[in-house]
Structures are given as structure tokens and as C-alpha cells.
């Protein structure tokens, strides 16, 4: 089955960085979102096999978006990629339904490791 991903981050630079890494790991980028609202709408429309989710974003933050996506589809596979590594925020994200939490900045290997974890 084709591996598809929706990349959600408010900065174009981070979306470009993630895109390069995900494509080289065999994913097809089917959509990019700049805030939580776009993330939820694009998820429903595209049903990607993976979502990478930033936390600090305008309009709706990543934690809220994870909750809404999981409410719509409890099988959704979401990895958080955020600069905010504070413990309480990591716990919030995992409780909301994220499968892994990668702190920015990251080595490409760290993303590959997260992908391996969710594919097992």
C-alpha cells in the first residue's frame, strides 16, 4: 500500500525540511497544512497513512488538532514534531493520541526511527 503523509507546520521552512526527509523514506506527501484547522480538514479529505503535527501554530494548535483528528478517526497515525520539548507538553500530546514526539531540531535519523516505530 502506498504510504501517504500530511505535513502540518506553520513555517514553510520546516515543511520543506520534513518533506525531503519523508520523501526519501518512501512517503508521498499528499498535503501540507499551516495550522490546526487546515490539519483537521485535510485529514478528513485525504485520509493519509501518517500525519506530522507541529504544536505551536496560529488559529488552532497541534494538540487540539490531534484531539479532533483522533475523535474523527481513532486509528489515525500522528507524530508530533515540535520545538516544545517540555515534559508536560509531550504528555499532553501523547494523551491526545499522538504516537511519537520528535523535538526540533532533529537529525533525519530521528524521523526515520519514528517511522520505523509506527510501521512495526
Amino acid at each position: 500500500m502506498e504510504k501517504t503523509v500530511l505535513i502540518v507546520d506553520d513555517t514553510a521552512f520546516m515543511r520543506m525540511t520534513l518533506k525531503n526527509i519523508l520523501v526519501s523514506n518512501g512517503y508521498t506527501v499528499v498535503g501540507e497544512g499551516e495550522d490546526g484547522i487546515q490539519a483537521v480538514n485535510l485529514y478528513k479529505k485525504l485520509r493519509p497513512s501518517l500525519v506530522t503535527m507541529d504544536i505551536t501554530m496560529p488559529n488552532m494548535d497541534g494538540i487540539k488538532a490531534i484531539k479532533e483528528i483522533i475523535e474523527y478517526d481513532d486509528q489515525a497515525v500522528i507524530i508530533v514534531v515540535s520545538a516544545m520539548g517540555q515534559k508536560a507538553l509531550v504528555i499532553d500530546a501523547l494523551n491526545a493520541g499522538a504516537k511519537d514526539f520528535v523535538v526540533k531540531p532533529f537529525q533525519p535519523d530521528r524521523i526515520a526511527e519514528a517511522l520505523q516505530k509506527i510501521n512495526n
Partner: protein
Amino acid sequence: MIINECHKDLLAELASIGAGNAATALSQMLQDQVITLQVPEVKIAPLQDIPASLGDPEQEVAAVLLEASGDGVSLTVVLVLSLQAAVQLITRLLPEDCDPLGEMGSSLLMELGNILVSSYLGALSTMTGFTLRLTPPSLGLDMAGALLGSVIAEKMMLEDNFILIKNTMHAFNEDIEGNLLLLPETGSLEKIYRQMGVC
């Protein structure tokens, strides 16, 4: 509130842990480029001195502004780089065909601000147990005096003093200066000190 020597010591400790985190983050972004760090210089000054606090107010700078808040603490954080340092970082991080001050370059500076400020907040969070969330960054490119003046013009309820943390990092055979300005809301500093239980 009145900031005494003990408070200053704590700020210096916070700045040095934060700067260490930030240097690690920056080094990772730059593909493990070795970055050496001087002990950050911490200054406390009255709010009205802010426009000239970085030296020449007419110097062109790039400033990334974020608001941090949580557990009863609110502060505005501004990361200021000389335009030259900003362009240098962008050209190291972007593909060659990108315009450093185009959309991708601006977005990189905002993400850089987000990442570096988050690494400082990580230090604050570890030292206090507080959890602080950030707003999305906004970016300004202008003369230092005008930019910083406009930051305080828009804020109310600020503490009378602000905190300036001057970081000097050494990478690519050059010194890169990154200044971090913290503008706490009234009561926030006291809350942080009380939580740490010293002074």
C-alpha cells in the same frame, strides 16, 4: 519588583543553561557544526532604555517575537540578530537558489526563533517546574531602535525592567551575536523566584 544580586545570579544561571540548550539546537540545525559559546552576559535595565539597549539604534536587525505563558507566568520574548548574522545563518541553512530574505528565508528565521526560544524555555521549565506555551512567532526586519520601541509601545502590564541576555557564539570562524530580550508581565518574575524558593 526590585531585582537584587541573588535574583541576578539566578537569571545568569538560567541564561547559561538556556544558551547551552540553544547552542546544541543550532548546532544540530547546522549539521553538527561545532559551536562554541561564551558565558552569556545578563543585563537588567529600565523598559524605556530598550530602543538603544543593543547599541546603535539605527543598526538593521531581524527580530523574532514570541509570547510565552503558562502557570501564571507571562513574558514577551524577542530574539534579535544583526541582519548580517541572520542572512549568514539563512544562507547556511537554505538551498543555494533561495533568496535569503524571501518567503523561505523569513520562515526559516521564524522557525529559528521558535526553536531557540523553546530551548531557553526548556531551561526555565526545568528550573521551575512550570509549563510555558508559546505563540507562533512574528518577524520584523527594521532598525533596532524602531523595532524594539514598537514592541513596548504595544504592551501594557509589563514589569518596569526588562532582561537582556547577550549570547555570543562562535561558528564558521566568526562570532555570531544573538540577543534575547525578556519582557515579563507584572508579577511574573516574582512568581518564578518564589517557585524556585531562593533569594
